[in-house]
Symmetry: C2
Subunit: 243 residues, 2 copies
Amino acid sequence: MKIESLNNIKVKEWIKLQEKKYRDINKEFLIEGDHLLNEALKVNRVKEIISTDEAFKKEGIPFYLVTSGIIKKISKQVSGTNVIAVVKKSTNDKIEGNVCLLDNIQDPGNLGTIIRSALAFNIKTIILSNETVDLYNDKVIRASEGMLFKLNFRRDKLEDVIKELKENNYNIYGTNVKNGNKLKDISFKEKSAIIIGNEGKGMRKELEDKCDFLINIPISDNCESLNASVAASIIFYEMNRKI
Amino acid sequence: MKIESLNNIKVKEWIKLQEKKYRDINKEFLIEGDHLLNEALKVNRVKEIISTDEAFKKEGIPFYLVTSGIIKKISKQVSGTNVIAVVKKSTNDKIEGNVCLLDNIQDPGNLGTIIRSALAFNIKTIILSNETVDLYNDKVIRASEGMLFKLNFRRDKLEDVIKELKENNYNIYGTNVKNGNKLKDISFKEKSAIIIGNEGKGMRKELEDKCDFLINIPISDNCESLNASVAASIIFYEMNRKI
């Protein structure tokens, strides 16, 4: 049976997931489009599929046929989509492999791009400071190209995580444009944890003191700084190049 | 005298510059906020300053005091601004230094980020294929952080530019995930020209045949691809690291 009313209780529930508050309460979030749906299916985290087209039905997963008006109301994309899914948040917050810690990343596009590059360069775990933008923001998910399903995530106080990392013999790398050593001269080891700072302000001083190494990516005097997700990706690349 | 009416002829002219068509006809574009204004002032390309605040007046540049309603109407930014300027397009399309050629880059954020990274890693000239997104799109300008004032730009058929580059002893580097050599094994020389392909489809095959070297950035099998501006930035970084 097709859902046609915006007043349907399921529709109201789905629309609520546009807000971080309800994503937090329900431990669920929305994804849009068939590429993201396929990535979410691979990791068995799809709870419900909502579409105007029965072709998106999958065995064992509740399916809701809806009007395109309802899809539009649930969707955050301007260009439109014909399938949306409710996906369970990951519960895997283990610290494994190389780690990236994000100190107050604010732009959702940057967070998504960092996730995509982290996976590309063999980082396994991402730690988000409590101030960092919501992982399940629609723009983060889109910019990650679905790669967020393949990493471990934890949202926590970075000072506490750094303590845990040190107890587990990780080297901690921070970024500092003024005092850092040139990236090409840095040596990385198997257990590396890289801290990326806020877009405007960089990494907090309190964290700098806890780093084993400070990195600087040399750039032209003409240019003030790199985009945060670009700086992160270049460090990941160089780490992966060397390990 | 403060302009208060949206029907004022100047206001109508400014609003038109939100459209590519009028930016092309007038050879002018809009920038927003004091950071971009300062960058544009440094290169003497500001034609008019529009603000709710007379503190933005500059000697020798026509200044228009307007209401915040008018600023809102001219602005494309959600977060709001109090100063907008009309800026003359660059006429410097000389090929100098290292060159980046963009084959159909569609996302304005990607183009802006590529511009910022290009400047950071000592590329001097950017060539946009005719299909590439407009350089003077507001999102491009914002993502470039004003760095677009410091580079040379030409919009042209890439095949023609490659011919010119070869006549001037440039090495042409393309990107190819399957057939390229690993980035870290590539040698760059003083006159390097790097082609970056479209976000989804990569670089056109017709261009590949014209390249002296094909580059591949090795990534995890888990991950399909890098963001186009990230891939570009990593190649620029490696080139700058080696030259």
